[in-house]
Symmetry: C2
Subunit: 400 residues, 2 copies
């Protein structure tokens, strides 16, 4: 299997303001994106990859001089991989409001020439999809072969199918839900409160104060992380192991007695969570965290149809692949089955795979053979459809 060569981020500026669902608009914005593989002559082999809470346009491959910075879905996307860049033209895009280069809260507000901070307008899945459509327009792609995403990325894929039915042929929504449950919102809210009540938050204008609410970000990430992993994975990976003493530690914790401490690390799971929190607080923007958890909270396509999800999909025409993971308690299989039911109510072409995987919500990012097998089969089918369609075209050309 060959690897992608060095990949490069690109940016595209949009002069036309983006009207937002909130009633506000986003002016003079830029989207960062990356592409992998080549667009075919018929412009029919493009696949859009939508990111979730804390990912970016850097979906696959590596940048020159940064051997560690592998794209977040590199196990899925590349030459010979399930989403094969020898066959498909793959697009990753960073959504506005995020913090990886596309216009977001750390950027200058054209109205004030100060960083947006907390004044960045509230965005939604619908707004993101609208921005993605404009990017596709600019790239000359009228119809995507597929839109794919996991978690919040899956919500974007579903939104494409509802909002722009003519502009995609396949919708692949993984480990996602038709909306957040009260418990999902509750976890988001606690994370937000940790950030907003950090004295370094300054009402969201921390940049003007030269600080970052890292304490809040750390706690927010720790909470999130617990919900990404299954109970079983945590148990298998950490259990009740005591953290080995820093020096002279024997293997495992056999014979170790606890330190009896309330503030220091005692258990391995604590060490792991603190590490995850620290790392996250170094690179993620606090206002982006607030915005993107709200993108999750607000997604609820059934709401405008009196809670009827089937009605929300009434105009959809795509072929659907829905995937869930048995141990995902954040977006449980039951939530995916709600989506499948709504699609079947509309007599749409839908395949559903419930993958027995131990890794919880995180499974959508991992390299599980059955999961990747489902995706490989789906992309094979899409590639064959593209081939058949161009042969058909070719045949028509030959006929005198």
């Amino acid at each position: 299997m060959s690897a992608l060569g060095h990949v490069k981020p690109q940016s595209m500026a949009f002069a036309q303001a983006l009207p937002l669902r909130s009633g506000s608009v986003l002016r003079d914005y830029t989207l960062m994106y990356e592409t992998y593989g080549a667009l075919n002559a018929a412009r029919s082999n493009a696949v859009l990859v939508c990111h979730a809470l804390n990912a970016s346009h850097h979906v696959a491959g590596r940048y020159e001089g940064d051997p560690k910075g592998t794209g977040w879905w590199d196990n899925l996307i590349g030459p010979g991989k399930p989403l094969d860049t020898d066959r498909f033209f793959v697009i990753g895009v960073n959504n506005p409001g995020s913090c990886f280069g596309s216009t977001g809260p750390t950027h200058l507000n054209p109205a004030t020439q100060q960083p947006y901070g907390a004044d960045f307008p509230v965005v939604t899945v619908e707004d993101w999809v609208d921005a993605q459509v404009r990017l596709c327009d600019a790239l000359g792609i009228e119809q995507l072969a597929a839109v794919i995403g996991g978690s919040l990325g899956g919500m974007q894929a579903l939104c494409w199918a509802m909002r722009y039915p003519q502009r995609l042929r396949h919708c692949i929504a993984i480990a996602t839900a038709p909306n957040l449950s009260a418990q999902n919102i509750a976890f988001n809210e606690v994370a937000r409160r940790a950030i907003v009540t950090d004295p370094d938050f300054h009402g969201g204008h921390y940049l003007a104060h030269g600080v970052v609410p890292k304490r809040g970000l750390r706690v927010a990430r720790m909470i999130g992380h617990i919900t990404y992993l299954s109970d079983d994975t945590m148990e298998a990976k950490f259990g009740r192991s005591l953290r080995a003493a820093v020096s002279g530690a024997a293997d495992g914790d056999a014979g170790r007695t606890p330190r009896y401490t309330t503030q220091d690390i005692e258990f391995e799971i604590e060490s792991y969570l603190r590490y995850q929190g620290d790392k996250f607080s170094e690179y993620f923007d606090a206002n982006s965290y607030l915005l993107i958890t709200r993108v999750l909270d607000y997604f609820d396509p059934a709401r405008e149809h009196g809670g009827d999800l089937s009605a929300a999909f009434a105009s959809a025409t795509a072929k659907f692949q829905i995937i869930s993971f048995t141990t995902d308690w954040r977006f449980s299989p039951g939530r995916s089955r709600e989506i499948v039911k709504a699609l079947l109510d509309n007599r749409l072409d839908v395949s559903y795979a419930e993958i027995a995987a131990p890794h919880g919500h995180d499974a959508f990012l991992l390299d599980d053979a059955r999961y990747h097998g489902v995706l490989r089969a789906r992309f094979d089918r899409i590639a064959r459809e593209i081939e058949a369609s161009s042969h058909g075209l070719g045949g028509m050309r030959i006929v005198p």
Copy 2:
């Protein structure tokens, strides 16, 4: 059903230092406790009630002049109630390290004459049980009819059965576990980090600075609260309802459009959690929160037996009633079944009830007919045993 009259908290000072599992000792400590009902002549009808994270010795009844301050298990305990104070002498005790009057972090450290703060020694379930045994000694109770508790209270009941097998006849452990899972510890750790990283925490010596780390306490409580409720209960109680506008609100949220806000309350569940957090931060001590979550983390009786829970119960002789709730994802029924298995391995007298209840972990505090039915039957059995035993005694006296 008659009510308890006004109840009164009592205190008992202990001059003899309490040796702690950590190797430290607790000197000159006081326990707050309450009793309900009358101790019989044989001193055989005493029932000890053990509290969980945030409760106290005030288990049942009301204080004079405080009609709202009902004891936390008042639905279970009182005249004619399942734990009938017309038949039993019930004892509630506040554990050391807590913050409801028994010696804790806000009290003066006799060594320094300053509040203990973060210097309060780390306590464990075993230490608490040792302190409870001394209280029973002081009350002249050689053997308890039963020890009962839910959650962390259930751990104390189990510890009594292992550590002082001759001093209780029945052990009633509800919604509890033989130890915390990695996920349980993880939630505790996030809560602790929220408290410890609050700038008002001052390394645990906030009282000396005249402040309280309320921000951290609020977040800690919000996290805890999510884990006490079932996903279903949250969904049924709050769902995705938007919080009604403060003034001129119509019923429900029909027709309401979202406010599109990242920092203000949008959903009802957010309002509820913030309220719970605010309330808690007004009365609970931050150092007590750290200590008591550690009491939970450290409980692991199987550890000293190479992980063999059955071996940990080898010396137990009590009769056991174990109860779990189907929707409790904090201490799931599977954890109770581990306890039941270990008890059966020791051929102990054990009844297990898995109650189908929608309320999650909180169910142990609620008035569920089947749940209270199980407890009523158990206490009836205990009362009959006490009666039979005193009749036996009477009979023996008559026999010449």
